[in-house]
């Protein structure tokens, strides 16, 4: 059965829409392979994946995808330089031990990198923290502080600052509030999700 871009989670749909057809892709933290399958079936991409959870790897293999069980923090080192057109890290950066290093690795392996993450400075989170004085538990961040896999919380502006510091170019950026796009201007306040397409200056 062929996968369909319109059925994807909104941030994955943005990535899938903007991947060039026929390109080589590495999806880091690929989960059950939904994005990879969509890229293979609709964009004819050569998609490879890395995933931490064995059951997810099994699900990917059953979809005919090539996925290696591994950890973004330690196992990206084994991929050759510039071996894919795009390295993709969706909703995973905030769970890594060394986000800066992971970013460097993505841009070493890929000519470009898609990175998507939840914006912790979204107004709902700010309000929740302000009024309740407790770490926000929202639709976007449904787990309590002690249960969440997120260990490096960041905002859109934090991410932009890191890119500047690391001399990384922004080739494109998209912001989502729920399922709808919102403008880059007020993104740090209004966006729930951010998606960046990055490259390293040559």
């Amino acid at each position: 059965m062929n996968a369909d871009i319109s059925a994807l989670r909104p941030d994955l749909a943005v990535i899938a829409d903007n991947v060039a057809p026929g390109s080589r892709v590495l999806d880091v933290g690929c989960g059950d392979g939904t994005l990879m399958a969509a890229l293979r079936d609709t964009k004819h991409c050569d998609a490879r994946g890395m995933e931490l959870v064995p059951a997810n790897v099994g699900a990917c293999v059953a979809k005919g995808l090539s996925v290696i069980q591994g950890d973004a923090d330690t196992d990206l080192a084994f991929y050759p330089d510039k071996s894919v057109d795009y390295a993709i890290l969706s909703q995973t950066l905030q769970t890594t031990m060394y986000p800066g290093m992971v970013l460097d690795e993505l841009l070493r392996i890929g000519h470009q990198a898609f990175v998507s993450f939840p914006n912790f400075a979204h107004w709902r989170g700010r309000l929740s923290l302000l009024w309740n004085g407790r770490m926000p538990v929202t639709r976007l961040l449904p787990e309590a502080w002690h249960e969440t896999p997120n260990i490096h919380h960041l905002s859109v502006n934090d991410f932009r600052a890191l890119l500047k510091e690391r001399n990384i170019n922004v080739e494109g950026c998209w912001f989502l509030s729920g399922d709808t796009r919102c403008s880059p201007a007020a993104a740090n306040f209004r966006a729930e999700h951010a998606i960046f397409l990055l490259s390293r200056p040559i």
Partner: protein, 371 residues
């Protein structure tokens, strides 16, 4: 010895041409015993080659002719099973050097006497040459997949490296691209146990009276090896320190503990179905296996001609060929740019997990082969 009806479905191919060997010699009159299940389609492109482990054989599905027990992978291979014989033509051949119908040290040399220790030392690649000769004679140019666990995985990797056009996919379970010092060490214990048995007689025991030969040595070799196939967790769960059919320790050297009794049984029953010299030759072949060494010291080079898909599986309780061995192969395949999947599955049974009830394995095997 079981008394079940002997039911031998295997066929034997006799090679017309001598088989060239890594040791520099060539072996003429080679016989390869094999079993096949499921229908080969008209295009001859639905064949899967299963490679067996050290003491395995071609009886992957049908009952073993000597023990009467079900085939060694009957749970995995058959109609509707993960390796589905309704879809695939499944071939399993006894490796050369073994003793279940393929040419080995117990076979007769051209002078009419058993080869015994005159049999040339063989390698994993030599076994694979035998498999490829079989495929040639069956008219199968390209396999759908090669599947192997343990030494079978070594054959699969060797086939991928040396005959890259012969299969579209390789599934390698609980295996390695090279034998480690620890692997060699355990095999050496086994070989020394066999050779220290006076009944071994420098390998010339085939004319001995009925039932003789280095049974004690082979039994000890099997006991030592069997430990390496299990895990401490599995042994503790299955046996713990429980005593065997007794309330108290005997203050003697009987098999007081259940684990002792179990190992003695494993050792003894093995001697009824396996040739001691074959055990020497096959363990040697495994010890010599180092796929990177064959390819200029760089494992990725072994796969640079390949266009196949790969899937590797390791088990968290396997300390014989641990996950790091599989990851090593995965790294090399990645460096060669090949599509590769890898997963470490959780199972309590140690190295033997690939032969036992691990539902997650079935899922991966079926998923990978049905592409």
């Amino acid at each position: 010895m079981a008394t079940a009806q002997i039911h031998d479905e295997s066929e034997v191919l006799e090679l017309d041409e001598p088989l060239p060997l890594d040791g520099g010699q060539s072996l003429s009159g080679v016989r390869i015993a094999y079993e096949a299940h499921g229908k080969l389609n008209a295009a001859k492109d639905n064949a899967i080659l299963i490679c067996h482990a050290l003491t395995g054989d071609q009886y992957v599905v049908s009952n073993h002719p000597k023990t009467g027990k079900p085939g060694w992978w009957a749970r995995m291979v058959g109609p509707g099973k993960p390796i589905d014989t309704n879809k695939f033509h499944v071939i399993c051949a006894n490796v050369i050097g073994s003793c279940m119908g393929s040419t080995g040290p117990a076979s007769l040399a051209p002078d009419g006497e058993p080869w015994a220790m005159r049999f040339p030392v063989i390698t994993i690649r030599d076994m694979v040459r035998g498999h490829v000769a079989l495929l040639d004679s069956l008219g199968i140019e390209q396999l759908h997949a090669v599947v192997g666990g343990s030494m079978g995985g070594m054959q699969a990797l060797s086939l991928a490296a040396n005959f890259p056009e012969r299969s579209r996919a390789f599934l390698v379970l609980a295996s390695t691209a090279r034998h480690s010092a620890q692997n060699i060490a355990f095999h050496e214990v086994g070989r020394q146990a066999i050779m220290a048995d006076p009944e071994w007689q420098e390998g010339n025991y085939y004319h001995a009276d009925e039932g003789r030969g280095p049974e004690k040595g082979l039994s000890v070799a099997r006991m030592a090896a069997h430990i390496t196939y299990l895990s401490e967790e599995g042994l503790t769960a299955k046996f713990g320190r429980r005593l065997q059919d007794r309330e108290q320790k005997t203050f003697g050297f009987d098999a007081d503990f259940q684990i002792e009794s179990y190992l003695r049984y494993q050792g003894l029953s093995f001697t009824g179905r396996f040739d001691a010299n074959s055990y020497l030759y096959i363990t040697r072949a495994m010890d010599y296996f180092d796929l990177a060494e064959e390819h200029g010291g760089r494992l990725a080079n072994a796969f640079c001609q390949s266009k196949a898909r790969f899937c590797l599986v390791s088990f968290d309780s396997d300390w014989l060929y641990p996950t790091s061995d599989s990851r090593n192969v995965v790294k090399a395949l990645n460096a060669a740019g090949l599509p590769v999947s890898f997963v470490e599955l959780s199972a309590p049974f140690g190295h033997d997990s690939f032969l036992l009830e691990v539902p997650a394995l079935d899922h991966v095997v079926e998923g990978f082969l049905n592409q």
